[in-house]
Symmetry: C2
Subunit: 147 residues, 2 copies
C-alpha cells in the first residue's frame, strides 16, 4: 500500500475556517469542484463531479477544527476503498494542513498524476481560505493534457 | 521506505527539451533554484542552494531524452541517500514527465512538505519549457510560511 502525502500552511486563519471548507458543500465547491453535492456531515456521502468523471466519498470522521476523514466508495477503480485524511492544527496565526490519500494498491502512473493534481487543489484550498477565491474544477490548474 | 511521486505533461515539446532543463546548469537554474552550480553531467555533483539551505546531488544516470537519476549526497538529514528519478517520454506533441523522490525512511511531516513543494517546482519546469519562464527559488510559489 502506498500513500500520497502533502502539507500546506494557510495564512491568517484558524483551523475552524479550513475545517469549514472541508465539511460544507459550499466550502468544498469553492476549492475542489464546483459540482459538489450530497451530505458532508459524518456518515453522509459527498458526490464530487469533474468533467472527466468523479468520486463519491463517505464521510468517516469529522472532529471540528482537527480532523476529517473520507472513504472513496465510488469512482475510478484505483481510488475505491482508499481513504483521504485531513489533519489541521494552529501554528501562530497559520493553520497547518496535513493531507494523506492512503491505501493505493500500487504506485501506478495515475497515482503520480493524482499526487500532483492534489497539490494544485491544496493550493486552491489555501487560496480560497486566504483570499476568498479558489481554483475548483472546471477552473482548475492544468498539470497535463486538458484534464 | 516511502516515495514522493508526481507526473506532469509538457505541451508542444519533445523529451529532449525537458532533458536539457534537467541536465544543464542553466536549465536547472531556470526552474528549481537560480543558485545552481556544479557539474550536471553523469558522475558530476550539482549544488542547489535556496534561501534556507540546499542539496548536493550526484548525477547517477543521464540517458538523453529518457532518464535522469540523482542521489542526494548532502543536504537535510532526511534527504541524504535518497534518489530523485526522472523518466521522460513523448506522447504526441507532449512530453510526459514521471518523477519519483525515492527512499525516504519515514513519512515525516517534512516529507509531506517536500511532496507539495516538488509539485510546484514541476509546474515551474513545465512553465519554463512551455513558455521560457519558470518560477525557480527565490521566485518560487510559497506553499507555507515564507520558505
Amino acid at each position: 500500500m502506498v500513500d500520497i502525502l502533502h502539507r500546506v500552511a494557510v495564512e491568517g486563519t484558524a483551523p475552524e475556517k479550513v475545517y469549514d471548507a472541508l465539511t460544507t458543500i459550499d466550502g468544498l465547491a469553492g476549492w475542489w469542484t464546483t459540482d459538489t453535492t450530497g451530505d458532508a456531515a459524518e456518515g453522509g456521502v459527498i458526490a464530487f463531479r469533474f468533467p472527466p468523471g468523479g468520486f463519491d466519498m463517505k464521510v468517516l470522521e469529522t472532529t471540528p477544527g482537527e480532523h476529517v476523514r473520507w472513504e472513496v466508495v465510488d469512482g475510478p477503480e484505483e481510488w475505491i476503498g482508499t481513504t483521504v485524511d485531513w489533519r489541521l492544527r494552529a501554528d501562530d496565526d497559520w493553520t497547518i494542513v496535513m493531507f494523506e490519500h492512503q491505501g493505493w494498491a500500487e504506485p501506478v502512473e495515475f497515482m503520480h498524476h493524482c499526487s500532483t493534481k492534489w497539490a494544485t487543489y491544496l493550493m486552491s484550498l489555501k487560496g480560497l481560505v486566504e483570499t476568498g477565491t479558489g481554483a475548483p474544477a472546471p477552473h482548475d490548474v492544468h498539470i497535463a493534457f486538458p484534464d
